[in-house]
Symmetry: C2
Subunit: 697 residues, 2 copies
């Protein structure tokens, strides 16, 4: 896919100047010099040839229409030229020219007009305002980058052109190659989602890297990424904290969920590996590009020194990976073939004076052991060490077998030739063992993601129409926040359990309702205008008898009128006092990029003070909700501590799923809190005690 | 200090062989080749000369006694030779020979004997079983290392010889120099504490690095380190999780506190900067060695690209540092001297086509601004960039002014000469901006440590003698665990408040005591043999009247006899029912390396389930306890949430300090829990509800 951009049969460079100081010249030269085998058409108003190629005054003058046009002309000329490209049958565009959305105002207008033309002619476009694209498979370097990367199996995309130049420069000296290398620029048309889709089904890309500053189409991103990552690992670094301060936040969940939570959830639910630093981005990429996938979490270490072995073992345990336990045969083999002072358990210590032959013994034994899934080789330069020969042994043994092998050669001065060998033989090498282990951890995360069952989405039988009508009525009355009775109705329509409850409009009626429900009861003010009922004393619990119910009605009504003189007061809700249980919060906020974000946490202090909440984007699958509920720190409280019975996790999970269905059905819900949801012991269900719903204003 | 080892006037190499394949030859050659200016005496049984130096058959045959002897002979010969060294007046030893404690059994015996001789003659010894020592100030390389490091101001010590060789190799290619470089080996005599003491008062060491696997003298380490770090930054990496499983753990605190908590507390209380990875160890060291200390947390960034600027800004905020807000003058200066598209706020973006002159403007403005404490310069190679000239500008402006300047040149291929320039000019450079920010964070931690007031230790007026007698009585009765009444007595002796309480020995007496105290009361079984009273139903709360007190006595007594038939039951404790308040835990466990470790956390679920506890080593200062109490995640609960009044933090802190005094006075306390300590609102104090104390077995 996107072949018109990455593997076109012909390319026109519009703005290909004969003047070597011009960007257009540099772009043409990059295409000419790097072995592109298609036809190249320089377009220049006056020149007869550029770089010895016949030049044309316009795209329309080219005998056969070029498949791709690279545009390097002033912004005010771009629209006309692109229109012309469309008319001639050009199918792909790389617009390097800057001066569009990034300069605001008129530039943004220009970009909208540009996109309109591109879409009208069904072309695809990278840019504007980008460095260009490089494809080492088709040998097309349609960029003004100073360097051409080597061949490789890493596909890279970046929103920042400067990051592109830095990465090219750095990868050149590390000897790291790429399959594709794209500067996304303003991504008016081709964005990260389009590239993921295009790259995901191409075996030339063993791993996809993305440097992201923001994502325009959140749901599209999650959908495409979660498919792509089932075959191709995707590693992303997200940079730039977006100011979430613009939308009004009035619920708990809203104040807990930042854009960071949404990205975290999006990456989690689409199987994307998140790199925390630029260094990690490439540390991880190297392992995926060079070695087979880790078949399991059990690792062996071969080392010629104890210290680094301890460092690596610590790191493996901290990373949630496991130190392999060797089979008896492995231990026996190591005993027979290593000196008596060697350690034959994991980590295998081949001792400071080890030459390459001992590394061969250790590595071979580890790779042969069925209890080992991958091997990390540690090397410190010591008297008698053979860094290069050891690298050759690694390459030989690592080849044509299914377990990843990686190295940490600690040192540099005396190791230069060995480090070059390792890279040439595609053994990823890390300056320090911790970085190697972090890469293994990333690979293990990908392994678990691929091994997971396909996501199952529940679809409950709900009364969607009733909610639609209710929302229409709320809006018709000029409100965006639902009253408690309305919120209850929504809960009921979506199959959630509620305590018995009825609205009383007088003290007498309150006493009657309470007597019918059975004492004690809870009484709450009912008003569409009072959001925090407790704050004004509008909630009274444990109302014990009919006389108290009458008094309480009057008290609540008085307080409502006193503290919120302008509020509409519908009466007082008389509610069954629910049995005690474990209180949790299920909430929703709407992320501007990703849509509804569902929060789960233990209620009260755990959420408010300890911020112990986990987020998932709706729609949430059965597997995702199970993971969500288990990922809060206070999860042991739901499992039961001090001999308590476990809580009804199934009921808690189902509640989250029903809420996920609700907010997916009704995108107009911008915030929602079920707080608390009282979860009873296993098999006894859960009850919504209080719910708030706010619609789009 | 330790001049006999690092700067001796003369050195004998015992085992200096003429055979170039022998270690003794290599050691001598390292001393000879690297410019040591003192007298060198090869000692060899037969050779007349070694490496053209006159050789002697024994140390006793040397005309004037050498100040230092380096020993490279088989282990069985070491004792006699060291004895001879002592007799001749040798003052320092570097024992490279292996075969001592590290081989166990007879080797450990040999090492004890060796140390005895060393101490008898008041010599100091590095080793045995080490790579040797290097001092670039005296140009002494008394090691068998393959490389001599360059001069520098970083002092390095390592317990692992392999780490030493790896670091030497790596530092050589990075161009990093050292002042001292020590392989500690088995550290029979000179250990990390001795080196810290020796290096701390020497201006040649701008920063001290330590690779630690274990610390022998924990309290000594903390004491010395906390002095040294007030002048010289110390950065340590701790590797190797020690199995803490050997000692019996029966209290809460015991099960929470691992050796990791003790190291964390020790580093925290002694101002040591902890590196999490080997990479960080050197990333941090470089900044301390090359640049002045950060005077405050406000940082400026100068960059030629937006992307890296965002990465660095994110990292700075995550690290708890601050982005500086420029003065009006700075902004005006930048506006006047940078192109209109440049960003004149922080980060200063000098735009992709910036040459060195624009970096000069940006860096100069930032350094001149009184609101800026340090400057990070980001550089990506772009068309027109001047990496070397920019490096020269940085060196020029960074010189002779008090703010640290550091760089992240992103790239490598085209930057080699510039990177060499930066290193030569002592501008620390980091491949990626996040690593630069982590180094700044480490420097800021050191800044705050140095700026802190000297630690103040409280000394309360307590009845130490009463506790001494009580412990003696407990031991005399063959127990190690105190009964509740005894634990109460200890609490009282150390000035802690307790609820009123008396022991009843019959149902009638229980009723009388309860009536005197006032209902309701709590009743608890009193037995030295029943540790978990609640588990057997031995605690009843809310006993409401005299009849209930009689019944409860019988019930508790019955349960005690039924569930613990062999337990001695002293009666039933009748206790005032304390008012509700916020429950915290104050506990103590004894770390084998560091001694008493005091835990503080919110009681109950917060401690048990969420493991929300912070640790400090006793004795604890007033500043440390304030930090300890504030560092738990649930601290907001003590401050008061939802309109609650703040808890009496002063009372909570005083309790911790009194406990710290108690366990410092009585090292025989191996475990202790005050759980719960009920903390009332500010000004109302705190009461110990339950306490357990276990003495050394």
């Amino acid at each position: 896919m996107l072949e018109q951009i990455f593997a076109p049969k012909s390319v026109a460079v519009i703005g290909a100047s004969p003047d070597p100081t011009r960007l257009g010249h540099r772009v043409l030269k990059n295409i000419v010099d790097n072995g592109y085998s298609g036809t190249i058409y320089p377009i220049h108003p006056k020149a007869a040839t550029v770089l010895d190629l016949p030049a044309y005054p316009a795209v329309s003058a080219v005998p056969a229409p070029p498949e791709l046009a690279v545009i390097v002309i002033p912004p005010q000329l771009v629209l006309d030229v692109v229109e012309e490209c469309g008319q001639c049958g050009v199918r792909g565009l790389v617009v390097i020219t800057a001066g569009f959305k990034e300069v605001g105002g008129a530039g943004a207008e220009l970009e909208r007009a540009l996109l309109e033309i591109v879409q009208r002619y069904e072309m695809r476009m990278v840019g504007p305002n980008c460095l260009g694209i490089i494809d080492t498979v088709s040998n097309l370097n349609a960029s003004f980058a100073a360097l051409m990367p080597g061949d490789g199996e890493i596909a890279f995309m970046s929103q920042s052109g400067a990051i592109c130049t830095a990465i090219l420069d750095w990868s050149k000296s590390e000897g790291i190659g790429f399959s594709r290398f794209v500067s996304l620029g303003n991504k008016a048309d081709v964005d990260e989602v389009a590239l993921l889709k295009a790259w995901g089904d191409d075996p030339q890309n063993k791993v996809i890297l993305a440097y992201l500053e923001g994502i325009s189409d959140g749901p599209g991103f999650v959908q495409v990424a979660s498919q792509v990552t089932k075959n191709t690992p995707v590693i992303a670094i997200k940079s730039g904290t977006t100011a979430a301060g613009t939308r009004a936040i009035s619920s708990h969940t809203g104040s807990l969920a930042g854009s960071e939570s949404a990205y975290e959830a999006a990456f989690n639910q689409s199987g994307i590996i998140r790199a925390r630093t630029m260094e990690q981005l490439f540390d991880f990429a190297l392992l995926f590009a060079y070695q087979p996938l880790l078949p399991g979490p059990r690792l062996a270490i071969v080392t010629n020194a104890g210290g680094p072995g301890i460092i690596a073992t610590d790191a493996i345990e901290r990373a949630g990976l496991r130190m392999a336990e060797f089979s008896a045969a492995t231990i026996e083999y190591l005993r027979a073939n290593l000196p008596p002072t060697a350690n034959v358990f994991n980590p295998i210590d081949v001792i400071g004076d080890a030459r390459a032959d001992r590394y061969r013994v250790g590595l071979q034994a580890a790779l042969n052991d069925p209890n080992v899934d991958g091997v990390l080789v540690l090397f410190t330069p010591q008297a008698g060490s053979e860094p290069e020969e050891t690298a050759r042994v690694m390459a030989e043994l690592a080849a044509n077998q299914p377990k990843p092998v990686l190295a940490s050669y600690m040192g540099a001065w005396s190791l230069e030739p060995a480090l070059k060998l390792l890279n040439a033989d595609k053994i990823p090498n890390y300056e320090f063992p911790e970085r190697a282990v972090a890469a293994l951890q990333a690979m293990d995360q990908h392994r678990r993601w691929r091994a997971a069952e396909p996501a199952e989405y529940a679809s409950f039988d709900v009364d969607r129409e009733r909610v639609r009508q209710l929302f229409a009525e709320v809006r018709a009355s000029g409100r965006v926040e639902l009253g408690e009775i309305e919120a209850r109705e929504v809960m009921e329509a979506y199959g959630l359990r509620l305590p018995q409850s009825r609205l009383a409009r007088s003290p007498e009626e309150a006493a009657e309702i309470a007597s019918a429900i059975g004492f004690p009861v809870v009484m709450k003010i009912s008003s569409p205008d009072i959001l925090h009922k407790s704050d004004i004393g509008g909630v009274v619990v444990g109302v014990a008898d009919a006389a108290a119910a009458r008094d309480t009605y009057e008290l609540i009504d008085y307080r409502g009128r006193k503290y919120s003189p302008n509020a509409r007061i519908w009466g007082v809700l008389v509610q069954e006092m629910a049995r005690k249980g474990r209180e949790v919060l299920v909430g929703v906020s709407r992320d501007p990029q990703f849509g509804p974000l569902v929060a789960f946490g233990m209620g009260g202090i755990y959420v408010e003070v300890l911020k112990d909440v986990s987020f998932r984007l709706a729609p949430i699958s059965r597997q995702e909700v199970a993971e969500q509920v288990r990922s809060i720190r206070s999860f042991p409280l739901l499992q039961g501590v001090r001999g308590e019975a476990p809580a009804d996790l199934a009921a808690a999970e189902e509640t989250v799923l029903r809420v996920s269905q609700l907010v997916t059905d009704f995108p107009e819900i911008v915030e929602m809190d079920i707080n608390p949801l009282v979860v009873y012991n296993r098999g006894e269900g859960a009850v919504v005690l209080d719910a708030r719903i706010i619609l789009q204003g």
